[in-house]
């Protein structure tokens, strides 16, 4: 097997890993960088559980090869909290019961993080549309939506 030595920058830390070109970013994060917070669901771009932020944009890490992420700034769910303290979005997920089994949660958190960063005033309608990208099998969509709305409104309060 031909492996290539690459460096991935994840949550501002450099990880030197040896991967085959067919290694997805998802598998490289989980198995080579040891960052198993990003979850592997369908592995073909349907479920959104593996959503991470690459250069400021939310992407499916199962639909990108690790070798394509060299020189990119990658952010995963591990980068959200500051030590044991949850960030406001994570706190809102907890308060609004926006997770049950938790499998889809990292994907939703990263998707919501990037949506709120791109538009802190995102409308409820746009939020609902964008969130249709990810699947939750505990059918917790209402609580996920209210958690993100609450995080948005809370942040808006400090912006205005």
């Amino acid at each position: 097997m031909n492996k290539r030595e690459i460096t991935l920058n994840v949550n501002d830390l450099d990880y030197s890993v040896r991967v085959e070109s067919r290694r997805t970013l998802l598998d490289a994060l989980r198995d080579d960088c040891g960052l198993s917070g990003t979850h592997s669901g369908c592995e073909h771009g349907v479920c959104g559980a593996c959503t991470v932020i690459v250069n400021g944009e939310p992407v499916r890490s199962c639909l990108m090869f690790a070798v394509q992420a060299v020189n990119a700034k990658i952010r995963t769910v591990e980068g959200l909290s500051n030590g044991p303290a949850l960030n406001p979005l994570q706190q809102a997920f907890s308060e609004h019961h926006a997770l049950q089994c938790g499998f889809c949660t990292p994907g939703f958190l990263m998707l919501a993080t990037s949506l709120l960063e791109q538009d802190p005033f995102i409308s409820d309608e746009a939020l609902l549309d964008a969130l249709s990208s990810n699947l939750c099998r505990c059918t917790g969509y209402d609580t996920i939506l209210s958690a993100i709305r609450s995080a948005r409104d809370h942040a808006k309060g400090s912006l205005t």
Binding site: M1, N2, R4, E20, S21, R22, T24, D27, E43, H44, G45, G48, T51, E57, P58, V59, R60, C62, L63, M64, F65, V67, Q68, L111, L115, D129, A130, S132, S133
Partner: protein
């Protein structure tokens, strides 16, 4: 599932990419642009390319600008580029409307306009846009360059006129006249899912009558197709509900539906009628 092994090539220039592609094209070498269809197909082992020529690092393929009478869309322009108006007037607004129907937000961050055309899925919104609006498609290989009309490019279900050593380097969309009206309507079972049927209409409204009428239907036949009979029925007519209804009926009648049983064919015909009518209705709402 995991993709099978391949050699990853990262050319820095188009010339280098064309050279590499010509060397690996007979060994199942493929272009990797956004990868939002290809990598999923590889994960399912439906595609097992031995070489991938990754064109994402080539600056000249990121072009998105008006050149003369056309909007030029380079090979690696992402769907998300069209979240904003990329060109003043009706075309920018149309692309802005259409892009929201393409998969989901994160997929649109990486998937590309030209990649959708090269994949030629019958349910692809951009294939419908290219076919209906008569895009020119620029293909390059080390043998040279050729330009095909969309109608010549799409040959059927997931099939195009591209040779295995060619790259679709750009799509050229004609800039419409300012008095052009567009209407688009898509029906799918879930948000972001493949279309069951969709229609795009375009016409110039001149002294109260429609001119240069174009009506395209996608996701029904192997490729998106213009519905000539419906177009003729609207030419030089006023945009009234009666005329729209007649055109939708004609599009439905002439759609080449090919479902397994007659009931499904009937359903598809009714869908065609509905999406064409709704696209025509939409055309009066925005200019």
């Amino acid at each position: 599932m995991k993709p099978s092994a391949f050699v990853h090539h990262e050319p820095q220039t188009l010339k280098e990419a064309l050279q590499t592609l010509s060397e690996v094209s007979d060994q199942e070498g493929r272009i990797l642009a956004g990868g939002q269809t290809l990598i999923a197909a590889m994960a399912l082992r439906l595609a097992r390319p031995s070489h991938l020529v990754d064109i994402n690092l080539i600056p000249e393929l990121r072009v998105l600008e008006v050149q003369g009478e056309h909007l030029v869309i380079g090979a690696t322009v992402r769907h998300s580029a069209f979240h904003q108006n990329v060109v003043d007037g009706p075309l920018g607004k149309l692309l802005c409307t259409v892009v929201k129907h393409i998969a989901h937000w994160p997929i649109r961050m990486r998937g590309t306009f030209c990649g959708s055309l090269a994949n030629a899925d019958p349910a692809s919104e951009w294939c419908l846009v290219a076919t209906t609006l008569e895009a020119d498609l620029v293909l390059q290989s080390i043998r040279g360059e050729r330009k095909l009309k969309a109608q010549e490019f799409f040959l059927g279900y997931l099939t195009t006129a591209m040779e295995s050593d060619e790259i679709l380097v750009a799509a050229h969309l004609p800039i419409p006249k300012p008095n052009t009206h567009f209407g688009f309507f898509e029906y799918s079972m879930r948000a972001g899912d493949f279309a069951k049927a969709m229609a795009l209409v375009s016409y110039e409204l001149d002294s109260g009558v429609m001119k240069n009428v174009k009506i395209g239907v996608g996701a029904v036949e192997g490729s998106a197709r213009r519905m000539g009979e419906a177009e003729v029925a609207l030419e030089l007519k006023s945009p009234t509900p009666e005329h729209f209804a007649k055109a939708a009926e004609l599009a439905s009648l002439h759609a080449l539906v090919s479902e397994a049983d007659e009931e499904d064919n009937l359903y598809k015909r009714e869908l065609v009628q509905t999406v064409v009518l709704r696209a025509l209705d939409q055309s009066l709402l925005r200019t």
